[in-house]
Amino acid sequence: MNCKRIQKLLMTDYSDGEISAGLRRIIERHLSICKECKQFEQAVRKTTIEPFKKAQEIKPADYVWAQIKETIIKEKSHQPEGMFVNLRGFLHRIFYIPKPAFVLATAIVVILAAIIVTRLPFENQKMVNGYLGEQMAFFAYLDTNELDYYDDEDYVGLGTSIEEYLF
């Protein structure tokens, strides 16, 4: 790993403890042999990290809470009170469904509806089945020789001269 890459890591992941143990070992080995990177690491620590470690929490002035409380109470007094406000909150609590759960529930309902619609036997289906049955019976009938008009035994001619010519 070159010095540029090492110095980039020194300014981010290495200094912030966001690095794997393996990579940390590689960097530490490099720092032990590279004077320039070692100096860079010290500068980063001294200038960009250590000064902030001494920073302490600063409390707001006491009157800030009094002002917040006053604002809340004032706003509360302007809000509409009564049964419907409470009812709205009550209904919201009962019927509240988190977004992902709502999406999942909707998807399940749509899938179930699609399955039901495609599987239900309808009147049209009966008509189609009846027609297909009739057609199949007709073709089966054709397959037999029952309609062979040219069978000598069954053929009854009309007695015309043209029939004699043809058959």
């Binding site: 000064p51 707001p60 809340i72 509360k76």
Partner: protein, 187 residues
């Protein structure tokens, strides 16, 4: 900032002012400190603190514990403070005003400790002052609040690589500032 128990948050969401005051006591120091470090002005920081707690109070009913309360509070604080900083341009007076806030805080302490603390805060303020608001927030959350990259990305709703690059640029700026000898003299 220490964790706030879930039952306190629930009670506060039901309008219990006592429970909300408990939240304020735990979180106000954090909210004010972050606001002060971003705005660099005690009056703006107090206004931000007030706005943050009113926003929190109004929206507690909608809070469903899907994310941590802490992350939500960080997000509201940072957004409100940045908006305030961008809106109000009092750049010339910020440094002096920051000192006033620290002085107020140190007034009741012993002189030596107070002076040391004032010096530390002055260094922190001068370093943060050279950064842009986005870099400043990343440095505050990482260095002062101790958040991980993942936590910062959740608070600011940006990806981890953006957090990394903002921290890198912020530290480059701080290093350049340090090289000019300013930090050396102040430390």
């Amino acid at each position: 900032m220490q964790d706030i128990p879930k039952d306190i948050i629930t009670k506060a969401s039901e309008g219990n002012m006592g429970a909300f005051e408990e939240i304020y006591k735990v979180a106000s120091g954090f909210v004010y400190s972050v606001a002060l470090r971003i705005t660099n002005n005690p009056d703006d920081a107090q206004e931000v603190t007030q706005d943050v707690f009113i926003i929190i109070y109004k929206n507690l009913k909608k809070f469903r514990f899907r994310s941590s309360f802490k992350t939500w509070l960080y997000r509201v604080t940072v957004n409100t403070a940045i908006n305030s900083y961008k809106k109000i341009s009092k750049e010339m007076n910020r440094r002096d005003n920051y000192d006033i806030a620290v002085e107020r805080q140190c007034a009741s302490r012993t002189t030596e400790v107070a002076l040391e603390r004032k010096d530390n805060e002055r260094v922190v303020a001068s370093l943060l002052n050279i950064l842009n608001p986005e870099q400043r927030v990343c440095i505050i959350l990482r260095e002062i609040e101790g958040l991980s990259y993942k936590e910062i990305s959740e608070v600011l709703k940006i990806n981890i690589n953006t957090v990394r690059s903002r921290l890198k640029r912020a530290r480059e700026a701080l290093l350049a500032y340090g090289k000019r000898g300013v930090v050396k003299n102040e430390l």
